[in-house]
Amino acid sequence: MERGMQGRIEAPVGRRTLVQSDKTQAQPAHKAIRVAADGSAVIEGRKCVDCGAVVADATMACRACGSRTPLEAVRAGPGGKVFSWSVIHRSYPGIPVPFVSAIVDLDGGLTLKGTLRGIAPEAVHPDLAVEAVIDDAGGILDKEGRPYVGFHFVPKGVGQ
């Protein structure tokens, strides 16, 4: 792995005061990440029970059919397939390049954009089998010192 941890984020252990434990709570760096109280994290989509559409963000009604029935959380990934991608050579100032920006159809029906690591850019192809790996979102801490939880993709098998 180039950076980050796999599968599970261990929130730093703080003193047992409410304020301190809040400060050590890991924060999701992406709308599809859910962090449990124990610090473990998964990727979830939100599924419409009426039409089956799966989206990443918390909409107020289903954006596919307009249903007001609350969307259900569904686990997505970690497996998936590359739908499209680009190799980014110029980005915003300070962003290391090159990197592979990939659109991945995850198992469970959720599509996410993410950075694909652990493969030569020229080896990426449509339907490439990949896995989403939970990471520490580049190791950035928020202004209160709390870590973030993110994800990236690797070719299937590379992350084992």
């Binding site: 680009s86 110029r90 390049v97 920006s101 954009k113």
Partner: protein
């Protein structure tokens, strides 16, 4: 309900205008369009101004502050890259409603410099951590879907830039007017595979304006140089399963153009020219299919054939397009209408599409969600 006619259309030269405000650019375009129509600001009853980065500053009123504060109704619209087309469409609707006879639509922009975008979100900046959100990446990924499905090559995408830069050499209002052969396009800096720098539209400043009038006013001014609006459509993007993670420029464009063909009572086979939204070279090939200019998967062969170059069966982006004329966001959707109007009048000079009678314009605005505007214009 009156038909709407365009009787005045002009633009300033696109490029860098560091010493001028967006309002001055807009006012200059407005004066050019009024002169083209042979009317004065005193006859204008309403103004719609499209701008993305400057809209909050009341561009329409600032134009009147510079050229005559007549008390005309002013509406300022922002709709990403579709802002200009939105302003024109609102002007058309205002005339068709019967309430106004003479309406001015202006699009103007001073673009920010450098790579656009970069969301203001809490938490770590997503760029690089979660793929790329920069516009070239988004249109590179959209192009790679086509490449994966149909075998479209980087050379075919690059030929769009070669063609449109060639067209711009004949357009005195274009920002970049040099021939750019295929090897130059391919050798320029790689931005987001398969898009090199010359396959990305440049951020420049600009303004364009049109005068839209009722049939009664058009007849009063004389129909010789008038252009009839056959179709005017603006839509937002319908639900797509992968969006917004995978931006989809296709379904929103198809929705708009389908309605426009229906409104105009014609189809792609009736068009003599097209100005479409080539914000990136990949986009032009996608839109060949979206607009029905060729069958599914045939866009690569269409650019290879030369049919979409000036002199070909259906010239596309003879203005130079966004790639070479430049893409001042809010002005773009007005400028491509200005281009078609000049051709329908036979006044387009060296790049004139011979005998052009019907033309189509298309813009696509996006910022995680999209808008598409399509206009079908016919020589009156």
């Amino acid at each position: 309900m009156s038909d709407a006619f365009i009787v005045g259309a002009d633009m300033i030269r696109f490029g860098r205008h560091p010493d001028r405000t967006p309002f001055q650019l807009a006012a200059e375009a407005a004066l050019l369009a009024l002169d083209d129509a042979g009317i004065t600001i005193r006859e204008v009853e309403a103004i719609y101004a499209g701008s993305t980065f400057n809209s909050a500053s009341m561009v329409a009123q600032r134009v009147l502050q510079l050229i005559g504060q007549t008390g005309a109704m002013c509406v300022n619209v922002s709709n990403a890259c579709a802002a200009g087309a939105t302003a024109v469409r609102q002007a058309i609707l205002a005339v068709k409603s019967g309430e106004y006879d003479v309406v001015l639509a202006v699009g103007a922009e001073k673009n920010p410099r450098g790579l656009m975008g970069g969301p203001l979100t809490e938490g770590p900046p997503p760029e690089g951590l979660f793929g790329s959100v920069a516009p070239p990446s988004i249109f590179a990924e959209a192009g790679m879907v086509h490449a994966s499905r149909y075998g479209t090559t980087i050379e075919q995408f690059a030929k769009v830039a070669v063609k449109n830069h060639h067209h711009a050499t004949m357009n005195p209002k274009a920002a970049y007017r040099t021939e750019t052969p295929l090897e130059d396009v391919l050798a320029s800096e790689m931005i987001a595979w398969p898009l090199t720098k010359l396959m990305c539209s440049p951020n420049v400043d600009g303004a364009a304006a049109v005068v839209v009038v009722s049939e009664r006013k058009a007849r009063e001014l004389g129909l010789a140089r008038a252009v009839r609006v056959r179709g005017s459509v603006l839509v937002s993007d319908p639900y797509e399963a992968r969006a917004p993670e995978m931006f989809d420029p296709n379904s929103v464009t198809r929705l708009a153009v389908g309605k426009a063909y229906e409104q105009a009572g014609l189809g792609p086979e009736d068009l003599d020219m097209v100005e479409l939204h080539d914000c990136f070279a990949t986009a032009e090939l996608l839109h060949y299919e979206n607009l029905g200019l060729c069958g599914e998967g045939e866009a690569g062969r269409l650019i290879d054939s030369g049919d979409t170059a000036l002199g070909g069966r259906l010239p596309v982006n003879v203005s130079g397009g966004l790639l070479a004329k430049g893409h001042p966001i809010g002005a773009t959707g007005v400028a491509n209408i200005v281009e078609v109007v000049h051709h329908l009048r036979g006044e387009a000079g060296a790049r004139q599409v011979e005998g052009a009678r019907i033309g189509l314009t298309h813009v696509l605005g996006f910022a995680s969600v999209a808008a598409a505007g399509v206009h079908v214009l016919e020589k009156a």
